[in-house]
C-alpha cells in the first residue's frame, strides 16, 4: 500500500510540477531504496510529504559524537567512537556524564527522565536510547 501511495504521489508530483524538480533536487542525498527506478528528483518531491521517517542510527551517532568532540572535558578524543564508554574511555566523571546526557537532550529536543538518564554510560547506550524515542529529532 505504501508503495502504491508513493508511486501515485510521485506521479502526481511529476504532473503538477515538471519544471521545478531540478531546483528541488538535491543529488547529494543518499536514497535508501535503490530498487526503484524513479530518478532521485521525483523522490525528493515525495519525501517532503512523508516526513515521518525517523532518525537513522548513523545520523544519531554522528550527532552525539560531534557533541562529545566539542565537550571540553573529553580528555582523549582519539578514543571517541561508536562504542566509547563515557567513564572508562573518555575519562568523564559522573557529573560530566550528566552534562553529556543533558546536552544530548537539548540536541534531540527531548527530555530524558532521571532513571533512564542514569543508565546511559556510553555512546552506544545513548544512540540506542535516542532511536527508541519516537519524538526525537
Amino acid at each position: 500500500m505504501f508503495r502504491t501511495a508513493l508511486l501515485r504521489s510521485a506521479r502526481s508530483a511529476v504532473r503538477a510540477a515538471p519544471r521545478c524538480q531540478a531546483s528541488i533536487a538535491r543529488p547529494a542525498r543518499a536514497f535508501a531504496q535503490p530498487k526503484q527506478i524513479i530518478p532521485a528528483a521525483y523522490v525528493q518531491a515525495v519525501r517532503s510529504y512523508a516526513s515521518s521517517a525517523g532518525l537513522s542510527q548513523d545520523e544519531v551517532q554522528g550527532r552525539i559524537m560531534d557533541l562529545l568532540k566539542n565537550f571540553d572535558k573529553v580528555q582523549d578524543a582519539s578514543k571517541l567512537n561508536g562504542e566509547s564508554h563515557f567513564h572508562n574511555d573518555l575519562g568523564l566523571d559522573s557529573l560530566d556524564t550528566v552534562e553529556v546526557v543533558m546536552a544530548i537532550e537539548e540536541e534531540f529536543s527531548i527530555e530524558i527522565p532521571d532513571k533512564e538518564a542514569d543508565a546511559i554510560h556510553s555512546v552506544k547506550q545513548a544512540v540506542e536510547y535516542i532511536l527508541r524515542q519516537p519524538d526525537a529529532h
Partner: protein, 78 residues
C-alpha cells in the same frame, strides 16, 4: 561505572535540576550560571563517599541555592 547509591543519585539529580534551571536564564548570561553550578559541584567532589552528614548538608544547601537562583529576577551572575 559502579552502581550508584541513593545519595549519589540525589546529587546527580540535583545537578540535573540545576542545569535545567540554567536553560530558563537569558541566553547571554546562561554560561555564567552554568559555570557557577559546575564549579559548585566540582568544588565538593573530594568529599568522601561515606561522609553522609556532609553530603546531606551540601545537598540541602544546594537545593536552597537552586531555589534562590531560580528566581526569574536573577538574570546574571558575576
Amino acid at each position: 561505572m559502579a552502581r550508584l547509591s541513593g545519595l549519589q543519585r540525589d546529587v546527580l539529580s540535583l545537578y540535573r535540576q540545576c542545569l535545567r534551571a540554567v536553560r530558563e536564564k537569558p541566553s547571554d548570561t546562561r554560561s555564567h550560571f552554568r559555570d557557577f553550578a559546575r564549579a559548585e559541584f566540582h568544588k565538593n567532589q573530594g568529599v568522601g563517599k561515606k561522609d553522609f552528614g556532609t553530603i546531606e548538608y551540601l545537598l540541602r544547601r544546594g537545593r536552597r541555592q537552586l531555589e534562590t537562583y531560580q528566581d526569574p529576577g536573577i538574570r546574571d551572575l558575576h
